[in-house]
């Protein structure tokens, strides 16, 4: 635990989809979905044993196609949803489905990696989200605090709200709305706000960020030209209402107050290429993790716009210790994240440069070149 080196776990295939398991409260568990056009794709369940600093992994086969997006149910740790490419007749269709993993993996079994790699198991399909009428699925969001019954998927220019019934065996489209406008509009990413009784979501299409009310399916705010180029990802501050982070191809990370969307609250320009992901640390929301195709993952400490702006953090001492040790990092940057609910950062193309660690704070970085690195 004390050493600085990341734990590295190699995957067979390239991968873009990564998610923490939010329903799991005992173990640190991440799911990774691979992308391979020619072989059966896999979902790797990675358990991190932070006492021994080792990884336990299980591999599930996901035979229907390469995985572009993965998310887990907040209520049932055995349930997950994927967006995957289905190729047929020189057509590529991105579909979505809800799956259940085999029972014995749910509990986070501690098999040794050697054994588990031999017997790969298959996911049990619960239901398809029928998107034939709506286009390609971009991502699936679970209702953050809910019972795992409500999901929203973004398909081309549609927002679809589904009810999972009969213990997720059946998905019923309960409401939907379409984004109208000139040109071919396409959602790239979305995020379900944990605030306001989970009635708001934010979506990104091209350079615009929009907020929606899930009850009326109406647009509630719109940030035109939030970024100079395409917006790649969004995240809500888990502890502070109205605060939203976005990132995009203009190499910037911006923070917004959704009540006043004319100007960003703050802008970071630390990356030198597209920023693909942005995530808040769920317990210490001043910590922002961003991943970029400039091969860097940067953790920023944004105390000024966090929910605890005056720095009265419980573990202030702990943080400052680390900061002293790792002064080579820029300004207030520390690479930290909290384990149980950490969302992770995906896909940095070449060598992700991660520099410092902290006990019990952990995040996971997925490199396109088939490596997962876990960072203490």
């Amino acid at each position: 635990m004390e050493d600085d080196a990341p734990v590295i776990y190699g995957l067979e295939f390239q991968a873009r989809a990564l998610t923490p398991q939010t329903a799991e409260t005992d173990a640190i568990r991440f799911l990774v979905g691979t992308q391979s056009l020619r072989y059966d794709n896999q979902i790797h369940i990675i358990d991190f044993d932070d006492e021994n600093n080792i990884i336990n992994k299980n591999v599930l086969l996901h035979q229907v196609g390469e995985i572009w997006h993965i998310s887990t149910s907040p209520a049932d740790k055995g349930v997950l949803a994927t967006c995957y490419n289905k190729t047929s007749d020189s057509k590529v269709m991105t579909c979505a489905a809800v799956w259940r993993m085999p029972k014995e993996l749910e509990s986070g079994s501690h098999e040794s990696p050697d054994d588990s790699s031999s017997n790969t198991q298959t996911l049990e399909l619960l239901c398809h989200l029928d998107n034939t009428a709506h286009g390609n699925m971009a991502c699936i969001m679970w209702e953050p605090m809910g019972d795992g019954k409500k999901i929203i998927s973004l398909a081309d220019n549609n927002i679809l709200l589904w009810d999972l019934q009969e213990s997720s065996a059946k998905a019923v489209l309960s409401s939907s709305t379409a984004l109208e406008g000139k040109g071919q509009l396409k959602f790239t990413s979305g995020r379900w706000s944990p605030h306001h009784n989970c009635t708001q979501i934010a979506t990104a299409n091209d350079t615009t960020v929009r907020g929606w009310d899930t009850r009326s399916m109406r647009q509630i705010y719109c940030i035109e030209n939030a970024h100079g180029q395409l917006v790649r990802d969004l995240d809500f501050n888990p502890n502070k209402q109205y605060y939203l982070a976005s990132c995009g191809d203009d190499c910037k990370v911006k923070f917004w107050d959704t009540r006043n969307v004319t100007e960003p609250v703050k802008t970071l320009e630390e990356h030198s290429h597209w920023v693909w992901n942005v995530r808040y640390n769920h317990s210490h929301d001043q910590l922002i993790l961003t991943g970029s195709s400039d091969s860097r993952v940067i953790l920023s400490n944004m105390v000024s716009i966090s929910s605890e702006p005056f720095g009265h953090m419980v573990d202030d001492d702990e943080l400052s210790d680390q900061e002293d040790q790792h002064q080579e990092e820029k300004k207030k940057f520390k690479v930290l994240n909290s384990p149980p609910c950490s969302k992770t950062c995906q896909r940095s193309a070449d060598y992700p440069s991660i520099q410092s660690t902290l006990n019990a704070f952990l995040f996971c970085v997925l490199c396109y070149a088939s490596n997962v690195r876990r960072q203490d």
Partner: protein, 825 residues
Amino acid sequence: MAEMEVAGSGAGGSPEAGSGSGWRRPHGPLQRYYGPSAAEAVEAAPDPTDINGPHFDPEVFLTKVRSECPLGQLLAREAALGREIRALDSDMQTLLYENYNKFISATDTIRKMKVDFRRMEAEMDDLAANMAAISTSSARVSAALQDRHRRGAQLAGVQALLRKLQSLVEVPGRLRRWAAPGAEPARALRCHARARAVLRHYRHLPSFRAIEDESHAIMAELAQRLRTRLRDDTLDPKELTECVEMLLQLEEPPEELCEEFLSHAGTRLEAELAALEAELPPADPSGAAATPPPTSDILDFVDRGSSAFVGNLCLLAASYRSLFEGRPGAGDGRLEAFAATLTTRYFELLERRLALERGLGDTSLLVRALDRFHRRLRALLELLPAAGAEAGAALVARAARERVDRYLRALQTFFLGCLGDVRQALAAPRPPGKEGPGLPDLLATLASSVLGQLKAVLAYVQLFTAKDVAFASLPYFKGEFCVEAVREGLVVAFVRWLCRTARGFADGPAERGAPAAPPALLLLLARLCLDYEATTISYILTLTDEQFPPQDTGPVVTPGPALCAEARGAAQRLLDHYVQVQGAAVAQMLRKSVETRDWLGTVEPRNVRAVMKRVVEDITAIDVQVGQLFEEGVRRAQSSDSSRRAFSVYSSSRAPGRYAPSYTPSAPMDTHLLSNIQKLFSERIDIFSPVEFNKVSVLTGIIKISLKTLLECVRLRTLGRFGLQQVQVDGHYLQLYLWRFAADERVVQGLLDEVAASAAHRCLDPVPMEHSVVELICERGPPRVTLENSLHLSLVKSLVTMDSPDVLERWTDRQTLLLEEIRSI
């Protein structure tokens, strides 16, 4: 001559003796040195042979002459001596005669005098007797007259006294006459002053007291009248002074008079100030309302102010001094406090008037006005040192400072105007075939007009420190004004502002709100800032320091290098932004083209996609644009055949040791490993890295951004076999045309290799196109020939060698049919 000879032989023995005195003379000192005893002997012993000397001994001389001289010389000498002796004899005779004659005549004169004196003695005795008789009779007469004389003197004294008394008695009458209104109070005062002492002295006599009382009453009445007059507003300062002077002579209490005097003068001065104020528009606390332009210019205003107000104040101070000097209770403090209040008000008025000088107007007029003000103020200050010298100087300084600030704003406005013109020139639609003004021209115009304006402003500002301006000698204008106001406040501030403004184009409106600046403008400003860094800033600063020499002990100035660094920073930021904007434009094009195409269902590539041609065209245009303003830059040395080198993903002739991902369908893991290891050793490419100030670096930056975008976009797609081949063709095409723009060809190569490798990974059916076919498609210019697959290669090659367009076209038609047949199967 004889002595010469003697001296020469006396020195003795030298062979040259007698050959000529002229030759021997310079040897004298030497001889004295070597033979001191001989020389001393000659000098010490009196020479008996010197015929004119006191120790002349004829015997010695004769013996000597006889023994030494030849006969001829002896004869000549004898003759000469004889002549001399005769001449001396005759002279002596003449002198003797003269003496004798004089003695004779003197004896005669003395004898005559003896006779005359004897007669005079008798006459003197007679005179003495007569005088004694006269004095006796005179004494008798005066004794007889003495008594009468005394009585006459007494009578004259009585008469004088009576006349005095008479005049005293007349005093009240005269006083009354002169003190009457409209008469001559001054004479009355003089009269009273003369009489007063006497009357006071004899006041114990009742008659005198009556007179005194009466005259007192008259004078009191006069004083009363004078006081009334003093309160009269129409009194001019001279009359006022007279009036007060008279009252003072009447021994009125000075404090009271002082008060009256000042208050009266105050009213007058206030009136003058009010007249000045009337010219000003009413004070507007909000300051927002547009005030009408003042009716008269500032010089006029100051002129009137200084001649009326300051002049009167000077007069007042002078007369106050002369009136109340040395009187108790009327010290300078009062006058100074009084003057200070008034001058403060005057300054306020002047300040308000100065504030009205909104436009740039005529600076020389302002300088002259301030100069006049300052001169008059100095005159006042000589009289009243405490009347707000600092305030006056500060007022002038403030006005100057204000003007400098205004110039700064004018400069800024001017620069923005110039920028507006440039933007317009850049945006103006150009008639085809006719080039608009080139970027270098625009840059030159912009730079020179801004510099010219700056110089003009400096020239105007220099008026404030001209030698003939009085206030230029103030320490403020010598030191602080030069450094803080002009150098820092005007020049440095302007350069800083310019850099900031230029930077603003890069930082500010790029994405939200205002329309973004055209890229050419960014480029132009980058060059401008760079030029400023290189030469202009140091030139401007030198110019400023020459025109406004800074004091040695003055405040710290912003050093030139700091400004240069700022300018360089701005230039760097602008150029980086230019690269990002242009790169983003190209990248956007590439991204859309990759995202909208159906890569799975595409047909076999027949030609390079139009978007790639567009990309090359755009980059060529950018190259031209950048080339107009920036130097070529250094390119990494490259092999001569680099342009011909294969787009090498699949080529067999791969350069050893280079990163070149290979594709082997059977072993994906191995290639990953291989490529990862190779990447570790290849150079890392920073995509949005700062660029250098040259064309190659700028172009490299743009190309890097574009190609990286292509790479990322391709990775997000799933490709069919022909999709892959199309990417191959496009990549080769880009390689073919872009390498020459980049600083390091390997950067282009590396990125395109990665694109190809990623495309291969994302391909369902990765069958690459024959490399020679790829080359052919790319090199053929606008291709029309359809290539189904490499089977046709040889055929096409032969056709191309035939170089016959007709055949080629016919073949194309046939080929199209063939293609459709194959599709149907």
